[in-house]
């Protein structure tokens, strides 16, 4: 073998090895700034046992053509609420929030009587002194946990209906860029994660795999454990026993000139996946039959596709909601509002 051939072989094998090493390093934890793992940075503030994780790119959603069309369907009260938020704490939802990450915490062993816990992390531009002053004005109490400031507020409405105190809390994570809002116990865990006292969701390969599959190309998504949620849903036993054997679910959507969405569920085994596919196929057929006489719904019904990935027992449904369908909905709404 000549020297030239040997150098070529070494170079080629070296390049392959380097590429695979970088990919492997990215797969097992990420290389910051180069090959980060799936999901937004705020997943570092989500614990590994989160039952549901959701993401929405608020800026993209607000700027989308779809949103502009939906705006026409919103009530005046909704728009007034946005105005109040802007006047009181200086947050313009249309411009100031980049994206939000939400999570619901639940232990797999939790029962329906256990309290639900969770929080929302929002990244954007926030006027921190103004928000803190607003919370104090509304009766919020300032507390400190591990040297971090957080505001706690007991909601009167919740107390009146359930008889139990339903506290909500808020804390700033990254000076004024990221704010966390949720139950005080959950926010304690957010602060714990900042001290690296607990594992983040990035260490949970099942969740990260789902996020990796649903995130690309979508500006809103949610992944979660279906079995944990159904345990906490206060459903009667008769209903729970009829629920399909689903372990994980994921949903993602891309919103711009319409809505393209995918909803996928992972069944416990191959048999359950087959049964689930048959049930969903039946519903799709029914929807198509019902929509055949209505052109505005027919396009949506025809866009629904069902797929079954037998390698991991996943059944997925994709559908498209075109802008034209929204126009039809707007027209229907106008017709209903017209005086007879």
């Amino acid at each position: 073998m000549t020297k030239r051939t040997r150098y070529f072989m070494i170079g080629s094998v070296g390049f392959l090895t380097l590429g695979l090493t970088v990919g492997l390093a990215a797969y097992y934890g990420g290389i910051r700034g180069f090959a980060e793992p799936a999901g937004p940075e705020e997943l570092n503030y989500v614990p590994s046992d989160a039952a549901v994780v959701a993401f929405a790119n608020v800026r993209q959603l607000m700027d989308s053509q779809f949103r502009q069309q939906v705006k026409g369907l919103e009530s005046a009260d909704h728009q007034k609420g946005q105005e109040e938020l802007k006047n009181e704490i200086g947050i313009d939802i249309e411009r100031d929030i980049d994206y939000v990450v939400a999570c619901m915490l639940a232990s797999p062993t939790a029962t329906s009587t256990d309290a639900r816990s969770g929080y929302v992390l929002a990244r954007g531009n926030f006027d921190r002194p103004r928000i803190e002053a607003f919370i104090r004005d509304k009766g919020g109490v300032e507390q400190e946990y591990r040297g971090r400031k957080m505001f706690v507020h007991a909601e009167a409405a919740a107390t009146a209906t359930t008889g139990a105190s339903h506290e909500m809390a808020l804390t700033f994570i990254d000076s004024k860029k990221v704010v966390a809002f949720g139950t005080p116990a959950a926010l304690h865990r957010v602060i714990d994660l900042q001290f690296a006292d607990a594992q983040t969701v990035r260490a949970n390969p099942e969740v990260m795999k789902l996020i990796g599959s649903v995130e690309p190309g979508n500006n809103a998504w949610v992944v979660g454990r279906f079995d944990v949620l159904s345990k906490q849903a206060h459903l009667p036993n008769e209903v729970t026993s009829q629920l399909p054997q689903v372990t994980w679910f994921s949903a993602g959507g891309h919103v711009n000139g319409g809505l393209n969405a995918v909803v996928a569920v992972q069944a416990r085994d191959e048999e359950a996946a087959k049964n689930l596919q048959q049930v969903v196929a039946g519903f799709i057929a029914l929807a198509r039959m019902q929509a055949s006489a209505k052109p505005e719904l027919n396009a949506i019904a025809q866009s629904i596709t069902l797929s079954n990935d037998t390698s991991n027992n996943t059944v997925a449904v994709t559908f498209t909601l075109p802008l034209a369908a929204l126009d039809a909905l707007k027209a229907a709404k106008t017709m209903l509002q017209e005086p007879k």
Partner: protein
């Protein structure tokens, strides 16, 4: 026309030193042939073929980085999502075009080139088994093509996957599967066309007709005939190597009539062993006639 005839499998004269074993002989032929293959005119063709997807990937990267193509969609999710584009490149460019083309051009030339250059005499007069010549040259083909094709896939991965919100980390298992799939494709196509090169008078034409006539045509016709193609068995592995998102559901619809992974691997292994053995047998038994 004056011809020089080389009799089939000349008996090795008894000598004081023992002839090298089959494996040693194959390795020596590999060592000799790898350099010849890498630094031949055919390598320019190889470089052109494998650089095409890289250039396309670069274009995709530039277009997405300047914001063009962000709204191009197909099915339920964005086609511009990097892992989906990468999966399409692997299927449409590499597995359906580049791998068969390299198999045809390199595989059929393993013995045919030596015959054409009239240098086969030098190989066949050595005290080594003729089968070792085929195996050594086949291994050189596999090394030369893999060392060029697989790095180009790696470059494509880093160029395309991060676009459209794609994650290098999430797509890494798919990359590993794709690299393995391409390696299997090169091995099996190479084995088949090595036999074609050893057996047929016009191997290049025969190979091209098989790869781009028979395989492409029969794959779209329903029925059992597609079982007589390599693409059918490669296809059985593809859906599992693709990223599992909905953008590829359309592709999966096209390739849904496929075998399970173990069955596909079994048949690919069978084809590989069968045709490499047939190629070695054909070279051992055939009498090559060199035109003067």
């Amino acid at each position: 026309m004056a011809v020089e005839s080389i009799p089939a499998a000349p008996p090795v004269p008894a000598r004081a030193t023992r002839p090298p074993s089959f494996v040693t002989a194959a390795f020596r032929v590999f060592d000799l042939s790898l350099g010849q293959m890498l630094w031949s005119r055919r390598t320019i063709f190889l470089a052109l073929v494998v650089s095409a997807p890289v250039i396309l990937g670069l274009i995709v990267r530039i277009l997405t980085s300047v914001g063009i193509g962000g709204s191009v969609r197909l099915g339920g999710s964005a086609v511009v999502a990097g892992p989906s584009i990468f999966g399409l490149f692997i299927w449409l460019l590499y597995l359906r075009f580049i791998i068969p083309v390299l198999g045809v051009f390199y595989g059929t030339s393993l013995i045919a080139d030596e015959v054409e250059d009239k240098t086969i005499t030098y190989l066949f007069t050595r005290p080594i088994a003729r089968g070792a010549v085929v195996v050594g040259k086949y291994l050189a083909y596999l090394a030369a093509t893999s060392l060029v094709v697989l790095p180009s896939v790696m470059i494509l991965y880093f160029l395309v996957v991060p676009t459209g919100g794609g994650s290098l980390a999430a797509a890494f298992p798919a990359l590993v599967k794709d690299l393995a799939l391409l390696g299997i494709g090169l091995a099996v196509y190479g084995s088949l066309f090595a036999w074609v090169g050893a057996q047929f008078k016009y191997p290049l034409v025969t190979g091209l007709v098989f790869a781009f006539g028979w395989e492409q045509g029969i794959m779209v016709i329903p029925g059992y005939l597609k079982r007589f193609t390599i693409a059918y068995y490669i296809q059985g592995l593809v859906p599992h190597a693709m990223p599992q998102d909905s953008a590829l559901s359309i592709l999966q619809l096209v390739v849904r009539d496929s075998l399970s992974v173990p069955m596909s691997l079994f048949w690919l292994g069978f084809i590989f062993v069968l045709f490499l053995a047939l190629a070695a047998r054909a070279v051992s038994r055939r009498e090559y006639v060199l035109e003067q």
